[in-house]
Symmetry: C2
Subunit: 195 residues, 2 copies
């Protein structure tokens, strides 16, 4: 198994306009992360989970969980994925995961709640530009889950929580890449080791 | 310099609905390829060119050229890039490149026209699943341009033309990845060698 947890610092927690995903607290970035994490050409990866933490107005925090093996009727374009996320945030979130579409769940969870939960099944790695080169570490991983931020990165308060749970801080590039590019590269490096 | 040429087998050659990019001959794929080729977090790469070959109805072929160093007012989301492409195909294309926005050009060119043109400045590589591992070849490259197909791949007639011009057939993964993932990985491998 592999997982990704992306922090959407300003991602809207109420239904948003699908024709303006950037205006919804950069929901476009989260959509692209989901796409890059889950999709292959004409198929969906097996055994991948994506967690999105939405911290934007008006009702934060909300968390969305997407389980690749249960997913139906999602396609890799931003607008389609945005439609799934829009539906998810339209529900009143409670402490427990509620399924809003096949393989798509929503709940009210803080970053700490999420990390406590995923640390039961995953080794957690934090992706940050100044981390260790992922290529040196990737062969040692077992059920890794990667935490990363959106265009804003991860704020100090959240970073402190992530570091409590993480097995290491890793970098995928000397350049400052977009979040979804990091996701694509992590998948690529893991694929090469057959994890 | 580095370049990408993506073949859009069914990509519309007339203005299309920005709220249905997949329905426009999978224009969503071309938009994501442009995004992955050109954008970093909060900036645009230097010295990258993207060529899109649109072979869909009603007025093929049309080619779009995007030059990163000249680009203004483009953002990395599909809809924004789609808007630029939509504008480009709304013009009557002629043999020579016509600038439709800063850094975005359109012309009527066949695949052969394009390859003749880019082969003056680039070494051409063809990305195909059964090619040689890019990681073994990447350190030897100088001004590479990568040709790849969309969800349909590259049809036999086009493939024959590409092979006439290409210095090699390369693969980025044992899995069948989406085109934009290939672009992101090529950039990543090139970045690691500082090309």
């Amino acid at each position: 198994m592999r997982g990704f947890l992306i922090v959407g610092n300003e991602a809207f927690t109420e239904p948003f306009n699908l024709s303006d995903l950037p205006g919804a607290g950069r929901m476009d970035i989260l959509c692209r992360c989901v796409s890059q994490a889950l999709f292959l050409s004409h198929s969906i990866r097996k055994r991948v989970e994506v967690y999105l933490l939405l911290l934007g107005e008006p009702d934060p925090p909300k968390a969305i969980r997407i389980i690749s093996d249960e997913l139906r009727r999602m396609s890799p374009d931003e607008r389609n994925i945005g439609g799934h996320l829009r539906k998810a945030v339209s529900f009143k979130a409670s402490k427990d995961w509620m399924e809003v579409n096949s393989g798509v769940y929503v709940a009210r969870k803080t970053l700490r709640d999420l990390l406590v939960e995923v640390s039961e099944s995953y080794e957690i790695y934090y992706l940050r530009e100044d981390g260790k080169d992922i290529r040196e570490e990737v062969t040692k991983m077992k059920n890794p889950l990667f935490v990363l931020g959106d265009h804003i990165g991860v704020r100090r308060a959240e970073e402190d929580v992530i570091l409590e749970f993480s097995s290491g801080v890793l970098s995928v590039s000397g350049l400052s890449l977009m979040a979804e590019q990091c996701v694509a590269i992590v998948n690529y490096e893991l694929d090469r080791t057959n994890i």
